[in-house]
């Protein structure tokens, strides 16, 4: 079993819909949680960065972390065709030894006009 699980999709939604993307994880040492957006053949772009449990909002994006359930979510409001990409969740335990990121496999999102 992978440390971080993510539904690969593809997830297809109409423009304007609310999108919910999720990841589950098994390592209780993870404290830092990130969401990246990756367009085809490009490097990942950091969207959200959160510490421990709780919610964080940035424009149309909301990240939620539930450490008790080992479950994180990214919500996208008023989705646009330009949001079509692969969304990667990533997590880190961050110790004095370093802060390597452990990624999920990514969810491919398609927003149709």
């Amino acid at each position: 079993q992978k440390e971080v699980e993510q539904d690969p999709g593809p997830l297809s939604v109409p423009e304007g819909a609310i999108v919910s993307l999720n990841c589950t994880y098994s390592n209780s040492a993870f404290q830092y949680f990130m969401w990246y957006r990756q367009y085809s053949r490009k490097g990942p772009e950091l969207l959200m960065y959160t510490y421990s449990s709780g919610n964080k909002e940035d424009g149309r994006f909301t990240a939620q972390v539930d450490k008790s359930s080992k479950y994180i979510s990214l919500f996208i409001r008023d989705s646009q065709p330009s949001d079509s990409a692969t969304y990667l969740c990533a997590m880190s335990a961050w110790t004095n030894a370093g802060n390597m990121l452990t990624f999920g496999g990514g969810t491919r999102l398609m927003v149709k006009p």
Partner: protein, 110 residues
Amino acid sequence: DAGVTQSPTHLIKTRGQQVTLRCSPKSGHDTVSWYQQALGQGPQFIFQYYEEEERQRGNFPDRFSGHQFPNYSSELNVNALLLGDSALYLCASSLRGEQYFGPGTRLTVT
């Protein structure tokens, strides 16, 4: 302010050859991490450099080695290339927590 840059963009190598990939971190960042991303998968951590030392290493063989220079730029070296080394190699830089990625180098091994 330039972000993370990587070179080359794309290269093709033959099995058994050696390759060197380069990364310049975002201005002000002192930590560089390298990841390998196979097609259709999430990135896998190779190693992280801080103060010119390898600070953390993922589950990759010794064929993968690296270096960080005094200006914080970094190189990834892969020896004795295998077909399975074909992937997108990503460099990420950070100062504290948030890691910012470059565009990647796409390596094809034939």
